[in-house]
């Protein structure tokens, strides 16, 4: 997911990770799987790039990691949102929605500007 040439911004991946973890603690594989299915498999290039993003977000204090046991009894590293992460999630969600609706509005315009008439 999110290969360097996929044209998707690092911030988008971070927002999607925050969204995933807002449901509860999850390991990297679960996060990747959820993002892939929730975006209709559109974002399923190079899963590996998820991990550096997770480590960066840990350093920023948005998420924290701890080792637990997965559903098939395997040792796995689970990530959870911190309170700062929850705050980031809310702020970035509304920021993204404002941006998306503004761009949508612009590219959906059918009325030509006066200089093009």
């Amino acid at each position: 997911m999110f290969a360097k040439d996929s044209g998707l911004l690092q911030g988008t991946l971070e927002l999607l990770v925050l969204k995933t973890l807002s449901w509860g603690p999850m390991h990297g594989y679960g996060i990747a799987s959820w993002i892939e299915s929730a975006t209709g498999d559109v974002l399923r290039v190079e899963e590996g790039s998820l991990y550096p993003a997770l480590y960066r977000m840990t350093r920023k204090g948005w998420i924290e990691a701890e080792w637990g046991t997965s559903e098939n009894n395997r040792k796995a590293k689970f990530y959870r949102l911190t309170s700062e992460g929850r705050r980031q999630y809310r702020a970035q969600t509304s920021g993204w929605q404002r941006l998306a609706s503004a761009v949508n509005q612009a590219i959906g315009t059918t009325r030509a500007p006066s200089w093009a008439r």
Binding site: P25, R59, G68, E71
Partner: protein
């Protein structure tokens, strides 16, 4: 799929090496992906290859994650050290203020001890050391 960590908040007394921790985490990911492919009817070797391909640049991710984790560990250690120092200092000052007479006694004892030592050494130096040619 609901899998909560079964040992929440367990403190790792001896944290594993960053490289080993990253390896464990990435191995878990690949293992799950292979398991998923095999469950869908792929043969294990092909599943392994497909999982690796889907993962992308394994070596690059591995070294980048290790570096990030090492930097994080260093920052945590530094922060812990400073926190400890601050806590110890505050505790020391508070204890000293709670028993002012005892603190004064300690200070006076130290002052006399150091003063007496210096005085004796002054005498010894002039009598024994300086007298030698």
């Amino acid at each position: 799929m609901r899998d909560e960590p079964s040992h929440p908040r367990r403190v790792r007394v001896f944290p594993s090496k960053p490289q080993a921790e990253v390896d464990d985490e990435l191995a878990f990911h690949l293992e799950q992906r292979v398991r998923d492919y095999v469950a869908r009817g792929m043969d294990p070797a092909a599943a392994r290859a497909a999982a690796l391909e889907r993962f992308g640049d394994l070596h690059g991710v591995r070294s980048e994650c290790t570096e990030l984790l090492e930097a994080d560990r260093r920052a945590t250690r530094r922060r812990d050290w400073l926190d400890d120092l601050r806590q110890d200092l505050r505790f020391g000052v508070r204890s000293a203020l709670r028993a002012p007479l005892f603190s004064l006694l300690a200070v006076v004892t130290l002052a006399l001890g150091i003063g007496a030592n210096a005085a004796i050494f002054g005498v010894v130096k002039s009598v024994l050391l300086d007298a030698l040619p």
